[in-house]
C-alpha cells in the first residue's frame, strides 16, 4: 500500500464495522526519539481471545463475501519490514485498541498520505460514529472532534458533500499547522 493513511483506513474500517460509537485515531511523530506512533481505539464489539490470536493471519475474517482479510495482515507486514511493533488488545463488548510503533526515519516507511481524505471517508462511511483525530508532531498539535463539528452544524448532517470536503481541507491544514 502506498501510504500510511491507507493502512490506518483499514483499521478504522474494522472499527466502523465493529459497531463502535466512538473511534479515536492518534498519530504522533516524535523526531527526538525517532518514533511514529499510531493508536486506534474504539468502543465496538471487540474480539474474543481466539479471533484476537489469529487476527494478523490473512486468512482470518468475519465477513461472508470472501475468505481473506488483509487489513491487519498488511499492517503486521509493515511493522515487520520496518522493524516496528504492532500490539492489539481487545475485550468483547468493550472495544479494541491497536498500537503501532515504527522508527520514523526507516527506509521502508511509506509517506503519511492524505489524512484529511482518510477521515472524510470514515465519516462518510458512518456519520453516526463520533471520530476524534489527534495529530502530534513534536511541538505541533492538531485536534479534531466530529462532536464539535456536529454541535456547530445543528440539524444539518455532517455527511453533506460540501461539509465532508471542508472537513478534509480543514484537517489537512491543521496537520500542516496552518489553522488559526
Amino acid at each position: 500500500m502506498q501510504d500510511i493513511a491507507m493502512y490506518i483506513i483499514e483499521i478504522l474500517m474494522n472499527s466502523i464495522y465493529a459497531n463502535s460509537n466512538n473511534i479515536i485515531c492518534h498519530i504522533e511523530i516524535k523526531t527526538s526519539i525517532n518514533q511514529l506512533l499510531i493508536i486506534i481505539e474504539d468502543d465496538g464489539k471487540g474480539m474474543n481471545d481466539e479471533l484476537l490470536a489469529n487476527v494478523t493471519n490473512p486468512f482470518t475474517t468475519t465477513r461472508k463475501t470472501r475468505k481473506i482479510g488483509l487489513g491487519v495482515a498488511f499492517l503486521q507486514h509493515l511493522c515487520d519490514q520496518c522493524n516496528g511493533d504492532l500490539t492489539i488488545k481487545s475485550k468483547e463488548n468493550i472495544g479494541t485498541i491497536t498500537v503501532v510503533k515504527l522508527p520514523y526515519d526507516h527506509w521502508d516507511i511509506p509517506p503519511l498520505g492524505n489524512i484529511g481524505q482518510m477521515m472524510m471517508f470514515c465519516i462518510q462511511a458512518n456519520a453516526d460514529i463520533d471520530f476524534i483525530l489527534q495529530y502530534i508532531k513534536d511541538e505541533h498539535t492538531f485536534f479534531f472532534d466530529t462532536k464539535l463539528i456536529k454541535q456547530e452544524l445543528g440539524e444539518v448532517n455532517i455527511d453533506e458533500p460540501d461539509i465532508l470536503l471542508w472537513i478534509k481541507e480543514y484537517i489537512n491544514q491543521g496537520i500542516k499547522g496552518e489553522n488559526l
Binding site: 483499514e10 474500517m13 472524510m120 471517508f121 462518510q124 456547530e152 452544524l153 453533506e160 465532508l164 481541507e169
Partner: protein, 122 residues
C-alpha cells in the same frame, strides 16, 4: 483557508438546500471501499464523487460498502435505482468514469453499458 466560520456559512447554505430538494433521491451510488477496492484505486473515485456532489446537484446519494466479492473488478461503483429497484454494476471505475456515470446515468438516466460488468464478462 478553511476556518470554523466557513462551517457556519455552509450550515446556512445546507439548510436552504434541504428545503428545496426532495427528500427521497432517485439513485443510490455505492462505492466498494474494502482492501481490494482501496488497493485498486477506490479512494480517488469516492473523492471525485463527493467533490462532484458538493459542486453540483445530482439526484443521488453516495455511500460506501465493504467487499462486494468481485475483487478483480475493483474499483466497483454500483448504482441502485430506488424507483424500479434495479442495480447497475460499473467495474474498473476511474475518477473520469465516475464523473461520466454521474452526468449520464444519474442526470440523464442513460446507462453506460460499455463500463458495466456485463460488457466485461462477454
Amino acid at each position: 483557508m478553511k476556518s470554523l466560520e466557513d462551517l457556519k456559512k455552509m450550515r446556512e447554505k445546507a439548510l436552504k438546500k434541504v428545503e428545496m430538494r426532495d427528500v427521497n433521491k432517485k439513485y443510490r451510488v455505492v462505492v466498494g471501499m474494502a482492501t481490494c477496492g482501496i488497493a485498486a484505486g477506490a479512494r480517488p473515485v469516492l473523492n471525485k464523487l463527493i467533490e462532484e456532489l458538493g459542486n453540483n446537484d445530482y439526484p443521488c446519494i453516495v455511500t460506501q460498502t465493504g467487499c462486494i466479492g468481485l475483487c478483480a473488478y475493483e474499483p466497483i461503483v454500483e448504482v441502485f435505482n430506488q424507483e424500479d429497484q434495479t442495480k447497475t454494476t460499473y467495474v474498473h471505475v476511474t475518477p473520469e468514469k465516475a464523473v461520466s456515470i454521474l452526468q449520464n446515468h444519474i442526470l440523464k438516466d442513460r446507462i453506460l453499458t460499455e463500463f458495466t460488468i456485463d460488457s466485461y464478462q462477454k
